[in-house]
Amino acid sequence: MSDAALRTPFPERASAALKDGFLQEALTIATTKFIDLRRESFAGFPQGEALRDQARAIKEATLQRLDAHLDRLADNVERLGGVVHWATTAEEAREIVLRLARDRGVRMAVKSKSMATEEIDLNEALEHAGITPIETDLGEYIIQLAHEKPSHIIAPAIHKTKGQVAELFSRELRGQFPADPEVLTAVARQALREKFLQADMGITGANFAVADTGTVVLVTNEGNGRMVTSLPRIHVAIMGIEKVIPSMSDLVVFLAILARSATGQKLSSYTTLVRGPRRAGELEGPEEFHLVLLDNGRSRQIASTLREALYCLRCGACLNVCPVYRQIGGHAYGHTYPGPIGILLTAMLKGNESVRELAHASSLCGACKDVCPVRIDIPRMLIELREHLDRDKIAPWGERVVFRAFRRLLMSEPAFRLSARAGRLLQRPFVRGGRLRGLPLLFGRWTRTRDLPPVAARTFRERWKDLR
């Protein structure tokens, strides 16, 4: 999202999303479908719960020796003839890719879906340098043509109707295409096939990297991940440092639950294991393989309250069940990563100030934690984040005053009783038919759309003497 758009307060962005009829319908259909698929998949998979526990343990264990695993990964990648780059910041990562592209005379790069490259705004940097990045994941291709950002971690164009896609393709690809997903998919297939065959560079993310063997793993469905890592002469993979895992035995634990969590599939259509550039005997494959290890704020979280967010597999399951995400969609969040985990990742990557409003974009219902394949306790971390906002005085001064006053009220029973009595008096003008309506100030936010019960004529503690 542009900085200008981010200056609109989050509640306004959320309101706009609520009024978008297309978006509302698309979100309901898509998230409901994902929820059902995931539920069905785990219902028939009794080992699933134990595997989730194991997956979480592997992530935790890996974090406890993260430097050693990254060290080993790098050694193995280099032994295979790959090159490892170390990017502390998003800017460094961009520079690495740009320099590489310039040095190798890259004019066009094909990209497989990668949230890490979204995070560092790589496309924009490439375009400014006169290099054409082509998104090849169908959803990403759609939003690239539309000059938009992804609105869901795994289904980037979830907010677009088929009619909108048909219109978009017709306009950008100069044709007349019907609102038929089969036809539109075939259009994209044809348009992109040429690009795969002609591209100088393939850019991917990485779902995992196996330290033991130097293998980068891509989990995809469309085939573009395979194209991009086999056809162009250079392959660059950009990977968050937290994606490293120790061994192949660890890998299959994650493979067992990742696709199920994301789409309800047992495995995605393609799981691709890339071990460096092509070997001597291969007719196909890149001459060069580059792995860019990206920190961008991640290491700072290893010893912080957001540590668990580093377990994230980017499956999107938490988005699908979040009552807030389901109502407002991904764009309203305003950052690369939306949904429950997105709030934590945004804080991780951009600092607590960036989630001043977003930290409260949650009813703390816990549905996210329920479905997370690695059992990240997102609600707990949201509460911790809110605690940081108070501690670091990022929360608005007025709010902090109100809550401190509220505490004083709760610490004194006489004060509590008095406020109830005061409430009873003050509410009189607003009671209609036994309900409170049209309240002013903060309470007005409630009564705009809902009634409130009035403060009881006799509170429970006042009635207790009769019950005693």
Binding site: A61, P181, R193, K266
Partner: protein, 243 residues
């Protein structure tokens, strides 16, 4: 760009701050992967009929098309029939050595143009020619190095005579395999991968391993499932009964 040592040092410092974390362990690894792999092979030598049946069910569940032939000689006619039905004119195949049979003569008899890869010919010219052939083919024939029953997955190692695109560029992918490839669980795949990587340069001549579970697919437009986005629209598996 940051120097490796500084990058890792920063992480090490952060990790050091978190002593006393909850004890957690990584997945158990086979102490002797080669022996563990052999044990799995022995087990599957007995259990292959169950594994095969399970594979068929799961493969069909992900829209794979399953065939069964008595001997390897019976495979090319099946491939030819598939090609005919799909209107394929050009076929690209792995090196017959990697396939375990040579489908080219039978396919050529059906009027198909067959581009068979030859291991050991990796010149720049050969690369360019192969790319053109693979891009022009409507059907690709490969073997399968492992066949996973639990999920209906074909696992292909790339390498000499077994290019990556044979199972990727054409509209139709046909994989031919025998009972010795079958595995039952992802966990067993993990053991096989461990064993392979003990001495990977001996185990494989390529840098890529692909797990293929059905045709290429997407649901990116309104969550409507469509097949054949970039990869094949159809995947066939031909099981050869004769050991």
């Amino acid at each position: 760009m940051t120097a490796r040592a500084d990058f890792l040092a920063r992480i090490r410092r952060e990790v050091a701050k978190t002593t006393g974390q909850v004890a957690a362990s990584t997945a158990p690894r086979p102490p002797h992967p080669g022996a563990a792999a052999d044990a799995i092979r022995r087990e599957l030598a007995e259990r292959w009929p169950q594994a095969l049946e399970r594979f068929r069910q799961e493969f069909e569940r992900v829209a794979g098309i399953f065939h069964r032939v008595p001997t390897v000689e019976a495979a090319p006619p099946v491939i030819a029939a598939i090609a005919r039905e799909r209107g394929a004119r050009n076929v690209v195949t792995w090196d017959p050595g990697a396939l375990g049979f040579d489908p080219a003569p039978a396919l050529a008899r059906e009027g198909l143009a067959v581009a068979a890869v030859s291991a050991g010919q990796e010149s720049e010219a050969a690369r360019v020619r192969h790319r053109a052939e693979a891009a022009a083919a409507q059907l690709g024939v490969t073997g399968a190095d492992f066949v996973l029953a639990e999920t209906g997955t074909l696992i292909l190692l790339s390498g000499a005579g077994r290019p990556r695109s044979t199972s990727l560029l054409p509209d139709v992918h046909v994989a031919v395999f025998g009972r010795d490839r079958l595995l039952e669980s992802l966990e067993q795949v993990g053991v096989m991968l461990e064993a392979l990587h003990v001495d990977p340069d001996r185990a494989t001549s390529g840098a890529m391993i692909n797990f293929i579970t059905g045709p290429s697919r997407t649901a990116d437009i309104e969550l409507t499932l469509t097949r054949g986005v970039h990869g094949p629209k159809e995947v066939h598996a031909i099981f050869v009964e004769a050991p």
